[in-house]
């Protein structure tokens, strides 16, 4: 089935996932159109991260379907490499490769996975360094960078693969409060450039500002979703209300 831009870029239908006997996702469905930014929020352990980890097949799923640009992820013959070229991911713990400099971290995947020309990759990498405002840090090792700087390198590293969708898994959760903002600004600029983004986040103010759509999950299901304004000011479900009253 050919995928066209009027269809959802990522379409999750009735996703189920359990770890052993523990069922963490119990039937989640959501659609993301091209250029949309959606935020998944909810209490810890509600399965938010698991959802997006299923999108790029880092976790497998028991039941349901995830289509990324029309390609089924829940498929034993899935070409994971093809999928992961389309889907970039940024982690809570940055997970940079500690033995490579910032620039090498960014260049590694295009060189090794996409086998692109080294000069071109380096040019792209330098542009990305500029984009995430890390000029001058190209040759530093991750251990020499602050958390916020490392996270921006991680974003640039994902972008170097020119993905169509970016997944952000609580990317500011491990950061010092004073460096959270620099990372959020980077993501916001990315969203403004039209990148399709799925974020799992605890930053409510940020979610409200950049998201097109908010999904609230609790105990493995989507309790409520809506546009930011309606969601935050006019939540219907008592669970959502309770969560928002605690966090805001």
């Amino acid at each position: 089935m050919a995928w066209s831009e009027d269809q959802p870029m990522v379409s999750i239908k009735n996703l189920h996932k359990s770890f052993g006997a523990l069922e963490v996702i119990k039937g989640v469905s959501l659609d993301v159109m091209k250029g949309e930014v959606i935020c998944i929020i909810g209490p810890s352990g509600s399965g938010k991260s698991t959802i997006i980890r299923c999108v790029n097949a880092l976790n497998d799923m028991q039941k349901g379907s995830i289509l990324v640009e029309g390609q089924e992820v829940n498929d034993p013959d899935l070409n994971k490499l093809e999928l992961r070229k389309k889907v970039g991911m940024v982690f809570q713990q940055y997970n940079l490769f500690p033995h490579k400099t910032a620039l090498e971290n960014i260049m590694m995947a295009p060189l090794l996975v996409l086998k692109q020309d080294k000069a071109e990759v380096e040019e792209l990498a330098r542009q990305l360094v500029k984009k995430v405002r890390l000029e001058g840090k190209e040759n530093n090792y991750p251990g020499e960078l602050s958390g916020g700087q490392q996270q921006r390198v991680a974003i640039a590293r994902s972008l170097a693969m020119t993905p169509d969708v970016m997944l952000f898994d609580e990317v500011t959760a491990a950061l010092d409060p004073e460096t959270v903002n620099e990372v959020l600004v980077t993501i916001k600029e990315l969203a403004e450039d039209g990148m399709t983004c799925i974020l799992v986040t605890h930053e409510m103010g940020f979610a409200r500002e950049v998201a097109d759509h908010i999904y609230f999950t609790d105990k493995g299901v989507i309790v409520e979703h809506g546009r930011p304004a309606t969601f935050f000011d006019d939540a219907k479900d008592p669970r959502t209300k309770e969560f928002l009253s605690q966090i805001l």
Binding site: N56, G88, G143
Partner: protein
């Protein structure tokens, strides 16, 4: 140079301290041959034991139960039996079972000589330790870093080669260095199957010259210096491999 050698001749005549390998060119030749034989033996065994270690560690991560058991059995067998008996086992028991080959002079000789068997035996001995060392290093690489590489579309082999191994290698260098030092010391066992390494040649010299004391002390000094040099090189290497903010 001749004056230098002559001085030891006088030393012998005056004090009875007999160091024939310094003034007698024949003994000098034997000593030098022995020294280089020890070096050759060490380098070959180092090389093969590291290869065995890497392959073994790779196989131990195999999903196949019997592959893991086989590697585990190999490790325990070689770690808990005397290396000298292993050497005898290879050289005498297996060596005599191999077909003989013609030596070109109408006679026959064993397919593998003492030197080859020493390399085989000592490599497997040190390799058993290296497997464990490499495996502990691989386990020390955080799973999240591997995941980041997966999310960037790295293949299993690329992850092993470009992420896991370089990181694991840095962690295991001290333990590896220790094992390699032990290996160099263990090459003396080749003496037992008449491989003309340093200790063997020293024995020849003290048999001819009846100067056990001098030769013994000289041997201790040479090994002290040889091992000391290796330790020094490994320490330098460890320091040069160090990356900021990573490892101990």
């Amino acid at each position: 140079m001749d004056a230098f050698f002559e001085w030891f001749k006088w030393l012998y005549d005056d004090t009875g301290i007999n160091l024939p390998f310094l003034y007698d060119s024949y003994d000098r030749g034997r000593m030098i041959d022995g020294f280089f034989m020890t070096i050759k033996l060490s380098v070959l065994c180092l090389f093969f034991s590291i290869i065995i270690g890497m392959i073994g560690a790779w196989l131990q991560a195999s999903p196949l139960k019997w592959t893991r058991r086989f590697v585990g059995g190999y490790i325990q067998l070689f770690r808990n039996t005397p290396p000298l008996v292993q050497l005898y086992f290879f050289y005498f028991a297996i060596g005599t079972m191999l077909p003989k080959v013609s030596n070109g002079f109408g006679g026959e000789e064993p397919m593998l000589g003492g030197f080859a068997w020493a390399v085989v035996s000592l490599s497997f001995f040190a390799g058993a330790f290296n497997v464990e060392i490499f495996r502990s290093g691989i386990e020390a690489v955080p799973n999240s870093t591997i995941e980041a590489a997966k999310a960037l579309g790295f293949s299993r082999l690329q992850i092993y080669k470009d992420i896991t191994l370089p990181l694991a290698f840095r962690v295991v260098l001290p333990a590896l260095a220790n094992n390699l030092v032990n290996l160099v010391k263990t090459t003396t066992l080749a003496y037992a199957i008449a491989v003309p390494e340093m200790l063997y040649e020293a024995n020849q010299i003290w048999s001819d010259n009846v100067n056990v004391t001098e030769m013994m002390i000289f041997m201790l000094l040479v090994y002290f210096v040889l091992v000391g040099a290796l330790v020094w090189v490994m320490n330098r290497w460890e320091r040069s491999m160090k990356i900021p903010g990573y490892g101990a």
